[in-house]
Symmetry: C2
Subunit: 354 residues, 2 copies
């Protein structure tokens, strides 16, 4: 397991890793949407504004079918860097990890069976509250029901997400809770000024410290749904939050909705750790002393430029890539060098599809 | 395991039972709808015609919440006999068996998270084809995707269904496949003449022997979805088809869509076996030589008339009751006498709710 580094709570991290080695894993992929992503310049998750809303369902379809159905290509940045779902798909297949999709308010539904929660997408938090408070509570309750079932059928539930613009709502939620809330970005030069302006506009609308008011005012549907999931699932299995700063916001809400601390870890890529603007470790530490598992996917060693760009600060994480790579390593003992070969094969296959 | 009797393929049945004792179980509850149920006199699944469409989602809600949300009471026959979901709920809770809901074209969606398949409800087969052929193929494919995931996370996948009017479409499908196709009923005096008339009207519309044409003409969305599920799930876990004659129709389609025979059994109540009009054992034998596990829920010993009526030919089976009772016994070793006490407690709780 030399490919996985533990940060944060080291002892809890070692226990977490030991308890799930060679065990059963299940990946749940939460797709969602916030109109906040429509603010120009805030995200590159999608080739252009018209495509952004297709990114979450297209990622979900790609994981299942190896191609997308709701769009003709696979999700790309404007200059052609592919979705991190490529990494996720390879990791899941290499370790035969089953997966399912949960729709938490995606604007477009995926063309495959998925868990429906009845949630609507989030509004643009620069202009108006994200959600009705009723929907925040409903999202948490739906998350609990799903988490209870999924937690009962696996040893480790991996939770990943796809919500364009989600780092901005995550940052807003953390600030709303009085935390520092540094966040990462899918762009090397993180548009932090823009994000701060959006967050400040949202903060000015409400001074309520009630956690559900904070989510309603400036969150998104993913955050309360996943908070509900971890609350229930962590009672019966280990939970690996596969993501970067969005999962920090989930954990921040989890402080109020509850979770079994010994059963939770965050798993992400080293690219998030290396993103100085995010100060990821400090951000998590400010919320809770949980373990943070970090994998380096070694994409800097790739002969393919599109993959190397991940290590150069583009995309960095998404679609649960880091957490599923960690899980594949823990389940099967596969090393990151072998995985890199498989990433490259998959990249070549996908490029040929286009 | 004296409470479970094996019929059909005895050796395979013993192997099946031995392989899942004390193992992990997962109950998937498929809710669906066919307008065929609107033919007067064909079903009593619901207090009256306006309520029938609420029965599947209400059963699903009852299993999760212990009460229904889409209606004020729990599903009842017109004279107040309660849904067999009472038995299912008790069995699942007694053995801590996790469960989830799959929507295969229910007319009303349940107020809880569920697997969505994008299928529409089935049309009245007396008047018109049930489904577009495209939707039959889509249902099978959706079933395969769901079955692959669920089969990977459990040792035994229990599949139950709730589709009012479903015995009539099941009968039609079996006749369409050239089988004898005797079916059971939720009423002691099975309205077989009426069912036969409906089936004959449907048969006259098409003479195609293509299995997907048969389902399209006179099936319902549940049958192809569950056939897809067993096709994929039986590759990786045991599958217990929890139901009566509807599951016979699934198995008949499964002849064409494929399944791992050694991994399949049918599990139902002795009330189905005792229903002479159905000739259940012969019906299954005509399709495939699979094991049939039968449990007697001993409701005839109950001090409560509403429960005794199940043993007197009313309701008989539904919402996966028989299969979940069998699973509870196999998972935990609980006996049917102890379960009967729990059924009575639950019945009293529910009656107090009304």
């Amino acid at each position: 397991m030399n490919d996985i580094e533990i940060f944060g709570n080291l002892d809890a991290g070692k226990n977490f890793v030991n308890s799930i080695q060679n065990k059963r894993f299940l990946f749940s992929f939460v797709i969602s949407y916030t109109e906040t992503c429509e603010i120009p310049g805030i995200t590159v998750a999608g080739a252009n504004l018209d495509f952004i809303k297709f990114t979450p369902p297209a990622d979900a379809e790609f994981l299942h079918y190896g191609k997308c159905k709701c769009i003709d290509t696979i999700p790309m940045t404007p200059d052609g860097k592919p979705t991190p779902a490529i990494l996720t798909k390879v990791a899941l297949e290499a370790a035969s990890i089953p997966h399912l999709v949960i729709n938490a308010g995606s604007k477009i539904i995926p063309d495959l069976p998925y868990f429906e929660t009845g949630l609507d997408y989030g509004k643009n938090i620069r202009n108006e509250p994200a959600l009705d408070r009723y929907y925040v509570l409903r999202a948490i309750e739906s998350g609990r029901i799903i988490g209870r079932t999924l937690g009962a059928v696996t040893d480790c539930l991996i939770i990943g997400e796809s919500i364009p613009g989600g780092t901005t709502t995550a940052m807003a939620v953390m600030k709303g809770f009085g935390l520092n809330g540094c966040v990462s970005s899918s762009i090397p030069k993180n548009p932090l000024d823009l994000k701060n302006n959006v967050v400040n506009d949202a903060l000015m609308r409400s001074h309520s410290k009630d956690p559900y008011d904070v989510i309603a005012n400036m969150g998104d549907p993913m955050i309360p749904l996943v908070a509900g999931m971890i609350s229930a699932a962590s009672q019966s299995c280990k939970v690996l939050l596969a993501g970067g700063t969005q999962m920090a916001a989930v954990l921040a809400l989890g402080h109020f909705t509850g979770y079994e601390k010994d059963s939770i870890a965050i798993g992400t890529t080293s690219y998030i750790l290396n993103d100085n603007s995010a100060n990821f470790l400090n951000t998590i530490k400010e919320i809770d002393d949980v373990p943070i598992l970090i994998v380096n996917p070694r994409l800097e060693d790739s002969k393919i430029q599109g993959l190397r760009s991940f290590s150069e600060g583009f995309v960095k994480e998404g679609a649960g890539a880091g957490g599923t790579i960690i899980s594949a390593i823990l389940k099967t003992g596969i090393d990151s060098k072998k995985l890199l070969e498989k990433f490259e094969e998959e990249y070549q296959r996908v490029v040929t599809l286009q």
